[in-house]
């Protein structure tokens, strides 16, 4: 089986598996974040559960970190390998005649998402690690010791319009990445052809609705803080 994951097709499976996990993670991240629009209390409760439940912290979080790193590292590795598979470039190449812009530029949409993740980690993840594991404060409470801090932290981040614009741009790139990535992952996993109509429609819907939802959340909090 180790030989399988060293083959070109084995790596496709691995990329697809990490993509499935990341797409599932994105869905649950969205489901929790959208609560912040309708009910700050429900958002706080869900965030506290995700931030303190052992299985999420010590089982799912390491898998997520591995999945993100693997997807990026393997994505770059395969891109370099693929570039090397054609030493002399075409003088004229009409890629638009046979494939979508999204499918040909996954590396660039991926790079934009990576840049966003750095910002996102600095914004949320690193302060979260600092609060919980360096300061040892697992209560999830504000300094007043009475109410949860998660909703306040989220809203505070979207006060700055520059950050909101950066988030909107990043989610546009995420949408472009998913436009091809969703059905491509199914094709790579050998489930069925990416040309299957229903899969295409579902993939496009996911690629539009989820990033658009995140954009809505950022803009909503910017104008309602």
């Amino acid at each position: 089986m180790s030989g399988f994951f060293k083959s070109s097709i084995g790596r496709k499976y691995a990329m697809a598996l990490s993509a499935f996990f990341l797409m599932f993670f994105l869905l649950q991240h969205f489901a929790i974040n959208i609560l912040s629009v309708f009910s700050p209390d429900a958002f706080n409760e869900a965030s506290h559960f995700m931030g303190t439940f052992w299985a999420v912290q010590y089982l799912l979080q390491p898998i997520l970190i591995f999945g993100v790193i693997y997807h990026f590292v393997m994505g770059f590795y395969l891109e370099i390998k693929n570039k090397n598979a054609r030493v002399v470039k075409y003088a004229k190449n009409n890629g638009a005649a046979n494939s979508s812009w999204m499918s040909r530029n996954m590396i660039y949409s991926g790079l934009a998402i990576l840049a966003f993740l750095v910002l996102h980690f600095i914004d949320f993840w690193l302060p979260e690690l600092n609060t919980k594991y360096i300061q040892g404060n697992m209560s999830g409470l504000l300094a007043d010791g009475e109410s949860f801090r998660y909703y306040e932290e989220l809203v505070h981040k979207f006060v700055n319009p520059i950050r909101v614009i950066a988030y909107v741009i990043a989610f546009v790139f995420l949408s472009l990445h998913l436009m091809h990535g969703f059905s491509s992952a199914f094709q790579s996993a050998g489930v069925t052809s990416m040309r299957k109509e229903k899969l295409q429609i579902f993939g496009k819907a996911y690629a539009i609705i989820i990033p658009l939802g995140f954009i809505f959340i950022a803009i909503y909090h910017h104008f309602n803080h």
Binding site: K12, R86, S103, G190
Partner: protein, 246 residues
Amino acid sequence: MNLTLKIWRQKDAQSKGKMVDYKVTEISEHMSFLEMMDVLNEQLINSGEEPVAFDHDCREGICGMCSMYINGEAHGPDRGVTTCQLHMRMFKDGDTITIEPFRAKAFPVLKDLVVDRGAFDRIQHAGGYISVNTSGNTQDANSLPISKHAADEAMDAATCIGCGACVASCKNSSAMLFVGAKVSQYALLPQGQVEATDRVRNMVAQMDLEGFGNCTNTGACEVECPKGISLENIARMNRELLKSNF
């Protein structure tokens, strides 16, 4: 029609090539693309120049020998045809046409527009066959019941002529449509089951060894394939390889 041609000229495999401009006049729209190339070559020979080397054989769209990258697409702008079946009516008077060899590290240029597609032969040798005793007591293939659906799908996969347009069109120079078709044509039939495990493993290993890139599912190969080989064959090859590990 009068045309300007920008053609890749390369003396041999070791030389560095370059694009060279040529003019051709009075080209009929009813000519095939290769007939237009013949006109150019007659012109070059008459003026004492080296004619442009290009691969061709049957000129009926079934042998898979012709292999030009025309105006940025394998086999040119038409769909479901090889270069020999591409007609000049697809172009307009005064057009500039860029003609290059199929480009991939695994398809080295031998001369001008001729590339070595031996990598495909070596992948076929690695497992693209079934072992049959031909000593005189060979079983009639029709004695094995095969569903119409499976037979049709296997036949569709088997129509791959191995021209290499999939590799040439792919931004990654991946050969997975070709290998997927060759794996599929046997995987769908009972005759192919006995050696199925070794076949897919060996063919994929050889494909990787030849230096083809990795498929990223852009679908360019399926669009440019003169025989319309479906991406479904790549998905099937992926399943076959996974299955071969259990």
